[in-house]
Structures are given as C-alpha cells and as structure tokens.
C-alpha cells in the first residue's frame, strides 16, 4: 500500500509471468547469457526474448553488460530476494487478517 509496496508490486508483476520465470531460471543456471543463446533454449523468437528481458531489466531484475558487439544478461539476485520478501510480506498480512477475522468471530457475541 506504500510507495515501497508499489515498487515491489512492479517487481512481482515482472516475475509472475511463466516465460520470464523461465528466463530467470536459465540465467541463474548459466550465470549469464545473450538473448540469442536464451532464444535457443526457449520456444520464443529472439525478439520475444528481448522484450521480456527489457521488462526484467526495467524492474531491475537483470543487468546487461556490453562486451564489443555482445550483450550479456545476468540476474540481480538482490532484487530477486526483494521480490520474494514482498511475497512473504503479503502472505503474512493475509495471515494476520484471517487471524483477526477468526478472533472476532469466536470471541464476540
């Protein structure tokens, strides 16, 4: 609900997509990779990969490093951790709300 929450929502929106999860998985496994290499491992065009990488990059979840004509992508694990923590936070808030509903239902006339 706060500014921080909104930023985390963007992180989550970037991650909660099956294709981008696959990209992140591949990058985490390989360490780093080019869009062309990623396109070999996924049933998506190189163009499609580039668009998904752009979303991940804008969310700060991947970083691009240019060496000569090659651009290699790596995962920013600190940002990935931030997204995971956001999910844990949302879960624990719902737990607290459900506990409050339970308390009201069971203890008040």
């Amino acid at each position: 609900m706060t500014g921080e929450g909104e930023e985390a929502d963007q992180l989550w929106a970037a991650i909660a997509d099956p294709t981008r999860q696959q990209l992140l998985d591949l990058l985490l496994t390989s360490g780093d990779a080019t869009a062309t290499a990623l396109a070999r491992d996924l049933p998506i065009t190189r163009q499609g990969i580039a668009k998904h990488l752009a979303v991940l990059q804008r969310a700060g979840l991947v970083e691009a490093t240019r060496t000569g004509r090659e651009v290699r992508f790596t995962v920013r694990e600190d940002r990935l951790d931030q997204a995971t923590r956001r999910m844990a936070q949302i879960l624990s808030r719902w737990d607290a709300r459900l506990a409050a509903i339970k308390r009201i239902a069971e203890t008040e006339p």
């Binding site: 929106a13 499609g48 719902w94 509903i101």
Partner: protein, 152 residues
C-alpha cells in the same frame, strides 16, 4: 518462483453466516482490514477503503454469494478506477466444516499489475502473432515449474 496468486486459509469455530458477516460488513472490515470501510455489497458495488497514514483506495465488488463467496477488485494505487491491470482480485470462499467454517482467501492478478500501457499492447500483440503455436509448450513448462501453486 513467484506465483500470480496466493492463497491462505483458516478454520474458524463459528458458523458460515457469522463469518460471512465479519468478512463483508464494513463495520467489521474496518477492524480486520482497513481503518475505515464503505462497501456497497452487490456485484459492481463500490468500495472505499482507507488506511490512516497510507490513504484511500477504491475497490469494486465482483461477487456476492452469501454465505459462500465474496470477491472484490482491490486497487493498488490511490484514486484510480478498479481495472484489470491496476488492481488485484481478492476472493473469500467459505465452507461449513463441522460446526465451524473453513475460510480461504485468494489474491490474484499480480502478474498484470504495473505494466506501462505500451508494454501491455506489445505483449498482447506478441502473444497473438507469434506465440500461438508455442502456447501448449509454455503451458506444459509452466505446469512442470509448478505454475501457480496454492500456498496453503
């Protein structure tokens, strides 16, 4: 990794009618959810939720099926219309269990949040043009990854 929906549940030692009232009556909602709540309890009805120190967020009632299901769209930003890409969907499902109630909450739609319009249009075009043949493979892959696991 990060699912598009989350789900939690609790078993309450009170009948569904009682739990329904607490989940949907704004006087109760203002105690377990927001600090102030207005709810027009019918499909399409407006919700106004205020958190002191955070502001006022609007919502829209989506489903009212007492005492079984209550769903609403919950806006993630202040002063916006509750649409598909700007809100999450919160659903409460109540089921009688013995003399009590099993209450489940599902919040979904995180994936579509916070996308600049331009991206959404491009993404939709991409889906329609290029991905149709691959959809089954993607679906299988997502299923193998665990797709959208229920966390309870």
């Amino acid at each position: 990794m990060v699912p598009d929906r989350i789900s939690r549940e609790v078993v309450i030692d009170a009948p569904p009618d009682r739990v329904w009232a607490i989940v949907t009556d704004p006087r109760h909602v203002a105690r377990w959810f927001s600090d102030e709540a207005e709810i027009d309890l019918r499909p399409g009805g407006a919700m106004v939720l205020t958190w002191q120190g955070h502001g006022t967020y609007r919502g829209r009632v989506e489903a009212v099926d007492p005492p079984r299901r209550f769903a609403f769209r919950w806006l993630r930003r202040e002063d916006n219309e509750p649409g598909d890409g700007t809100s999450t969907l919160v659903e409460f499902v109540l089921a009688a269990e013995g003399s009590g109630t099993r209450l489940r909450v599902v919040e979904s739609g995180f994936q579509r949040l916070a996308w600049p319009e331009e991206d959404k249009a491009r993404y939709a075009g991409e889906n329609a043009d290029g991905w149709v043949h691959e959809l089954n493979q993607l679906r299988d892959y997502a299923a193998r990854l665990g797709g959208a696991p229920e966390s309870s």
